[in-house]
Symmetry: C2
Subunit: 231 residues, 2 copies
């Protein structure tokens, strides 16, 4: 049974954990402080129930620290908030990342300058979160993908337009990208709709799309949409 | 006959000038220095012939300084390079812009930091070229649109996918946006595909899409594509 670590316990992490369980993976979710996380009783900023409720209903998902999860996983998925991702990965410990694939679906959103959020200046335009992770942990194989849509669609593209819309993939390691593409296909993504944008610097493009995504979301008032490239 | 000024003599400006002539407008193209522009014999950076050749074949298009063109036009279209737009509009003179609609299709691309270009840091993320123009010339009604695609498609959406793909519109003045929407419809844009993203600050979204557009262009190797929102 393939072991996957999901860093981040929010609704995005939960969505992936449930999906990977369905697909037969052995899943551990990583968090900063396990006992604090399980003790929390407050809803999150979007009104979702506390993690403990979700976990009580999803007992097959293991829970550990970032470090325990990263040590456990053969593949790591970064579902932490972009502003916290580098710190979370430092807690995971680079030794637990070396040689592994890190699927990075986070965006460096900066909520400190009003809504809709902008991007963290140091992680945009001539840099990106994907690149920063790759530079900070040169031994891991970062593959940036699926960060251009609402999490429900990431793992269930068939929800809209018969599954006919686009996902993008960025990374320096062709073999790692190929393996992540197979995971996307297991979610229902069509091979023809997964566009390889090149090396990890192309994460600048997908991350900088977020401000437009947020305006689409504001205009459409519903997250269940995506873009399809037409020619 | 409706008078329109097109600021910028490059291939984008030429594309719009030809289209507006076809649609029955009286068109003046504005440039920094008319005699220099007509004397130039070099191809541009993309291998396009010098402006004088295009102009010789398009004699019905008037040519003037930025100031003359802005004074002439009832509507102004900014087709200058984003890095030069504010200066070009200053040469056009705010008095020639006041009360008019300015259609801004430019992007603040920064070619100084390698290819593909990034965005000018001072005009991205928490600002945009569209907003900067609006702040600098508060008397003009800036409408940002069509900056998310190759110029050939801007004025001829039917070229791909039966015309079924999206254009976006940003601006503070609802009446100005309504008039620009009518112009887009005269190009062939379908009403249902023109999405109003809100006030001019939403230009951040469409301008920040350019780095992703450039990666799509790199992967597809052809500019005749666009995005369609699917739900």
């Amino acid at each position: 049974m393939k072991r996957i670590a999901i860093l981040g316990t929010g609704s995005v992490g939960q969505t992936y954990a449930s999906k990977f369980i369905t697909l037969g993976y052995d899943v551990m979710v990583g968090t900063r402080n396990v006992s604090e996380k399980l003790a929390g009783t407050a809803k999150d900023g979007f009104g979702n129930p506390p993690f403990r409720e979700w976990h009580a209903a999803n007992k097959t998902v293991k829970l550990g620290t970032f470090k325990e999860a990263a040590g456990f996983g053969e593949i790591i998925l970064n579902a932490t908030q972009g502003v916290n991702s580098i710190n979370a990965l430092k807690l995971a410990d680079g030794n637990n990342l070396n040689g592994k694939i890190l699927i990075d679906i986070a965006n460096p959103l900066d909520f400190s300058k009003g809504m809709p959020p902008s991007l963290l200046p140091e992680l945009s335009n001539t840099n990106s979160l994907g690149e920063e992770i790759q530079k900070t942990f040169p031994g891991v194989k970062v593959v940036k993908t699926l960060n251009t849509m609402w999490c429900g669609l990431m793992v269930n593209p068939a929800m809209i337009n018969g599954g006919d819309h686009n996902a993008f993939i960025s990374g320096n390691d062709a073999d790692a990208k190929g393996k992540v593409k197979e995971i996307l296909k297991s979610f229902g993504w069509l091979d023809k709709n997964i566009l390889d944008l090149g090396d990890i610097s192309s994460a600048r493009g997908t991350e900088m799309y977020l401000p437009l995504w947020l305006r689409f979301f504001g205009a459409l008032n519903n997250g269940a949409f995506n873009i399809k490239i037409v020619k």
